[in-house]
Amino acid sequence: MTQSLARDVAAPSPAPGTPNPGRDTTEERAIRRIAFGHRLSHWDVKLSPYLYISPFFILFAITGLFPLVYTGVVSLYDWHIIGGQGDFVGLANFEWVLGQEKFWIALRNSFSIFILSAVPQIILALIIAAILDQNLKAKTFWRMGVLVPYVVAPVAVALIFSNMFGDQYGLINNILGRIGLDPVGWHSQVVPSHLAIATMVNFRWTGYNALIFLAAMQAIPRDYYEAAAIDGANRVRQFFSITIPSLRPTLIFVIITSTIGGLQIFDEPRMYDSTGEGGASAQWMTITMYIYNQGFGVAGGGQFGHAAAAAWLLFLVIVIVGLINLVATRAIASNESRSAK
């Protein structure tokens, strides 16, 4: 692009009919212009890659970085949803949030729901991907099929599931009653409510993760499997000794994204009952719901300062857990790949 621009600038065609004022000066100017063109193309090579990726970073600065910093500012003030900025209070909001029993309950709930959803989800996704990687008939149909739950809006999923998990008249408790089991307090008890919400999350994300794993599996050279088969390794051995170690980067990616997503879980627990407050004793109130309730919900009374402080604490928690995650997955994956050799 720049080269053609330089050529245009370098060779201005004299307008027809006008007398040529002096050949020498024109040539001199042309040379100078070519030199300028070189400089341009030099900049082009140096700068344009940054220009090309800049839209992302500009957008990120506006929609990601700015809110992050601004939340930090809000967390230092007494700030009301309607009244706006109040007095500077320093770290008092953080102190207040850390002193709230509900905050710690919310943190517990977030971790519990995250573990109940992420672990089975990744294991299931691996198994589904391994099956889809075999020579199935109507491959595309099966592969698209596992993605269908992902297309359904989370709010719709939550409405259907919260109905199924009704304590007195829900479908699941009805079935349990038919086969002679006691009904489960899907809303009233802590662990059952987490299980129900984790089920919604798994329903939505397992297929998505399975497809990511499948893509990575297909990139594994088939020679490995042939060699393993000749050496007498069965399917299971091949899966653990070839497939899993080769998936290392993908595993790290999926685990980290599901950690971030899991700790920020909001839609499903918020829609799990009609008030969206996480239950009478905060059984399934997650940390993001706590933030929402403080800022916008009934319980918090529009205290943006408290909400912002809680949001920053969540950010710190995610960073810490992400780092632990990274170290752990690195260690596990590299151990496995060593034993595979």
Partner: protein, 425 residues
């Protein structure tokens, strides 16, 4: 209408819809030209009874105005949306509905709302209704829509099976008395029936507290719920008998909605706006009826207002529209549709209202009946201050933990309640 829970305006989706609709009318400030083409938006929750036909009538009267309505699922959602956008300074509908329980919270920021007082609407509402909508400077910032005079709805089929009278005047005579009497009859009933007596302890608490003036907050704005003997007595009375009488349903929960049609309980406290909800949820059930009686006299539960946020581009046009919507003629139509009882003085004994009946409730003369219940509402309205809504929420949670979840006993749950309201101070 059927409460829009399953289909529309689900919390998050609702907020987006608000934003989308609101953008439709944001341009061209200064509605100087009275014939300029404009779109007015009105945001309500649950069901205000403003049908599309009713809104179309306004367009007939004002050809330059198109009206769009957005409905939030619950009052909580509407509150979150309202407060967020009022703080942000943009995005609200031209006319926004407000529920009485969080009205005081909003009243603190009445300078962000349009003053709606005018000669035309002076004296249109019951005094306590319009007094609550007047701010400290004497500006009227909201037009009353409905009030919630309470009666008792009952299942005549369950009454019959238990050997109780089924005719609504006989039922009214049977239940006439105070709350203890209502509970006593309930004990008789549950001894002879598999069904429970009432739906939810939360609504009984609402019913009791709405008969008092000072409950959760003192009139000077202190949270007194923890020390107020009225609240503690109500809490203990209700929970003492709830194991037998309650259907153990959390109000507004999935189970609660399902129970309208499956006969889990025999009676429920019935503010006028509940009629539409029952009819919507139990459309194919026969046996629902309504009795002209209420424990301990009368009571009002809920009721709403329309406000005009000052941030809107067409505040004057919106004010005119809100005045039209809350005029007796339109509010009467809303009553016929949903049972939301009007707060307008002219309608309290208007013949058109008195003759309204509802076939679903065994042809009950709901107009006459509800007018009687409205007259029985105590003149001293309960005081609902800035923290009323969150404290009420904490109190309801404490009842839910004992009666619905059964995860705590009454004493532990009360201790938890005291901790929860400490966090609100």
């Amino acid at each position: 209408m059927k409460i829009s829970r399953r289909t529309t305006a689900v919390a998050i989706a609702g907020a987006t819809a608000f934003a989308l609709v609101a953008t439709g009318c944001s341009s061209s400030p200064g509605a100087a030209d009275p014939n300029e083409k404009i779109t007015l938006t009105v945001a309500t929750f649950n069901d205000f009874g403003y049908s599309d036909e009713l809104l179309a009538e306004y367009t007939k009267l004002h050809p330059n105005v198109t009206v769009k309505q957005t409905k939030a699922k619950t009052s909580d959602d509407a509150r979150a949306n309202y407060f967020t956008k009022l703080g942000a300074g943009s995005g609200l509908a031209d006319v926004e509905a407000v529920e009485i329980d969080w009205f005081a919270e909003l009243l603190q920021y009445s300078d962000k709302l349009t003053d709606l007082s005018s000669d035309e609407v002076d004296g249109r509402w019951l005094d306590w209704k319009s007094n609550a909508a007047t701010d400290a400077d004497g500006r009227l910032i909201a037009y009353g829509t409905d009030i919630g005079p309470q009666a008792i709805c009952y299942r005549s089929d369950l009454f019959e099976a238990a050997g109780l009278p089924t005719d609504r005047t006989e039922v009214a005579a049977l239940l006439e008395g105070d709350w203890d009497h209502y509970f006593d009859v309930g004990q008789d009933f549950v001894a002879k029936s598999d069904a429970a007596w009432y739906d939810s302890v939360g609504s009984i608490m609402q019913g009791k507290l709405n008969q008092e003036v000072e409950t959760l907050e003192s009139t000077d704005g202190e949270i007194i719920a923890g020390d107020n003997p009225v609240v503690a007595a109500a809490y203990n009375d209700i929970l003492a008998q709830s194991p037998e009488l309650s259907a153990h349903l959390g109000q507004w929960s999935e189970d609660w909605y399902a129970a309208f049609s499956n006969g889990a309980y025999a009676t429920m406290l019935c503010p006028s706006w509940m009629l539409g909800i029952i009819e919507g949820e139990a459309a194919d059930v026969e046996g629902w009826d309504i009795a002209d009686v209420y424990p301990n006299g009368g009571g009002n539960w809920g009721g709403s207002y329309l406000t005009v946020p000052a941030q809107g581009a067409h505040a004057e046009a919106a004010k005119e529209f809100a005045a039209w919507l809350t005029a007796p003629e339109q509010q009467l139509q809303a009553f016929v549709k949903t049972g939301n009882f009007p707060s307008q003085v002219a309608l309290q004994d208007a013949p058109e209202l008195l003759e309204v009946t509802r076939p679903f409730f065994n042809d009950a003369p709901v107009g006459e009946l509800m007018a009687g219940r409205a007259a029985a509402v105590p003149a001293d309205a309960p005081f609902k201050g800035v923290k009323y809504f969150p404290v009420m929420k904490a109190l309801q949670d404490s009842l839910t933990r004992v009666d619905v979840d059964k995860t705590q006993n009454a004493d532990d749950s009360w201790a938890q309640f005291l901790k929860d309201i400490d966090a609100l101070k």
